[in-house]
Amino acid sequence: MAADRSTVHGSDLDIVAGNGLIHRRMFLTAGTAAAAAVASAALPNPAAADALPVEPWMKLPGSGFVGYGQPSKYEEKVARTWNTAPGTTGTGAARTPLQLLDGMITPNGVHFERSHSGIPDINPDTHRLLIHGLVKRPLVFTLESLGRYPRESRVAFLECGGNGQLLYQKEPAPVGVQAIHGLVSCAEWTGVKLSVLLQEAGVDPKAKWILAEGADAAGMSRSVPLAKAMEDALIALYQNGERVRPSNGYPMRLLLPGYEGNINVKWLRRIKVTEGPTMTKDETSKYTITLPDGKSLQFVLPQEGKSVITQPSPGLTMKEPGLYEISGLAWSGYGKITKVEVSADGGKSWANAALQPPVLSKALTRFRMPWRWNGGPAVLQSRATDETGYVQPTREKMIAARGNRTIYHANAITTWAVSDKGEVKHVYA
């Protein structure tokens, strides 16, 4: 569509799509004439500016050292929110406040959690990992012994298979990005390659699957294709540089990059090498997609290409017209994100957002898009493409393909409507 230059303060901005989307060089190249023009146009009236007080903390020594640091007390709202099953306190899911974070890494304290019987209080000295089944030598590993194996790090997203399920509802849920998509996080995981341990055990050629089982009271268990276990599975011992958090599987969890969260078994205690899948409760009765004809898709393991705008999003009201940065996250369980497009007019026109390096396979990718909000209504969307060429679908397309009688693997485009008051709400476009 035709670029609308009339909304710009007399400068020669590169409008790239409708309703104020601007070429990213507006933010990335300082000192150009265009940037200078915008900067001067955006300067507030000096008389209205706040005074520059000399605060008490500028004059008195601050507090002392602590063993393990915490965020500023002014950041208490950066917290997970959760739901639990009736009659339980730790069975359910806690969501990451994506709207209050930036970058690609999720801090450990707000990484999402899904637990099926609370968080076990595991003594690392007595925890054991057993590998058995179709192997020459069944083996038992201690945490200490695993610590002597070569380790590697992998930045990977984890997303619950049920993340985004509110998009299947007939009416748009009046909530924000944390409630809709907060069951996705990204960390640097460090540990031992599962393939090394399996090779030491000696896998029988008949084997095609493994069963992974947790030490929690639910004994959470899932079957994993042996090919995936040999390709890039990690016994993760560290999360963002420190030991894996109890809520994420301390002292060790299975990490299967790109696969739905549930199969990345936490508190890993046992791996059984098998010929076929064990058909556990979670891979039959739960994490399967029931289609309109009544058949259910099983072993839907990688998470599909997906993105969502995190800023602005519901709860983050914009105070005044002007330049903003639209920012969000994109990811795919099939590889790297190659493109994220952003629309400010409900999908009528699109422009490529900047992908912030590093862009890693099966990790969250941060995207950014300069936007001049003219103070009128806007409808914001993002659309991801991954390296296989897969394009994130609209909600209509997702439901046309799978119906809306499931709760799993919702990866459709999410739409935020901005009102003329700067309020943002979840809508269907």
């Binding site: 099953a85 019987s117 089982e213 029931t290 990688p302």
Partner: protein, 177 residues
């Protein structure tokens, strides 16, 4: 043998030697697990039923277990509430209305019910039921769903033979479908 073939063989030999050397250099810090240790931890039961323990139970016996251990969360006769519904829903998988997914309408294998109850139920004291109690309560739930008769006995031999109504209701996913 041509020079080229000789080179190829030499190269292969080098590759194999490297592989052997690599395997030999693996830390090998796991200790071998004994059969007794494995038996104590190996609680997973696949669809073939291999590994099902001794013991047995009937629907009637299971009704008693259910009343004591399951009723509070799963309601009268598996009707559900506050937690998952276990009985009914057959015929609701296709169509426009939300499917009612229960053991009877949805679960493809009876062995999974045994596996799951043994490892995870009752929620607040998992792994506390005896094998007889597990067979019995599984029999009770299957009987409430009309899958086995009142007089049927569930044990390691009979349970894997139970044909669940939705046994053929699953399709292995491949991308693009």
């Amino acid at each position: 043998m041509s020079t080229r073939s000789a080179l190829l063989v030499a190269a292969l030999g080098f590759t194999m030697a490297s592989a052997v050397a690599f395997a030999a250099e693996s830390p090998n810090l796991g200790r071998v697990a004994t059969p007794e240790e494995i038996a104590a931890w190996d609680i997973s039961i696949g669809p073939d039923g291999v590994g099902l323990p001794p013991g047995s139970g009937t629907p009637k016996q299971g009704e008693t277990v259910y009343a004591a251990k399951c009723f509070a969360c799963h309601g009268e006769k598996g009707a559900g509430k506050p937690n998952d519904q276990l009985v009914g829903g057959q015929g609701t998988l296709p169509g426009d209305k939300p499917p009612v997914k229960t053991v009877g309408s949805f679960w493809p294998y009876a062995t999974t019910v045994f596996d799951y109850v043994r490892r995870a139920m009752p929620h607040n004291e998992s792994k506390s039921l005896t094998n007889d109690e597990i067979y019995a309560v599984v029999a009770y739930i299957l009987n409430l769903n009309g899958i086995i008769a009142d007089i049927d006995i569930m044990d390691a031999r009979t349970l894997p033979k139970v044909k669940m109504p939705n046994r053929d209701g699953f399709v292995t996913f491949s991308r693009g479908k």
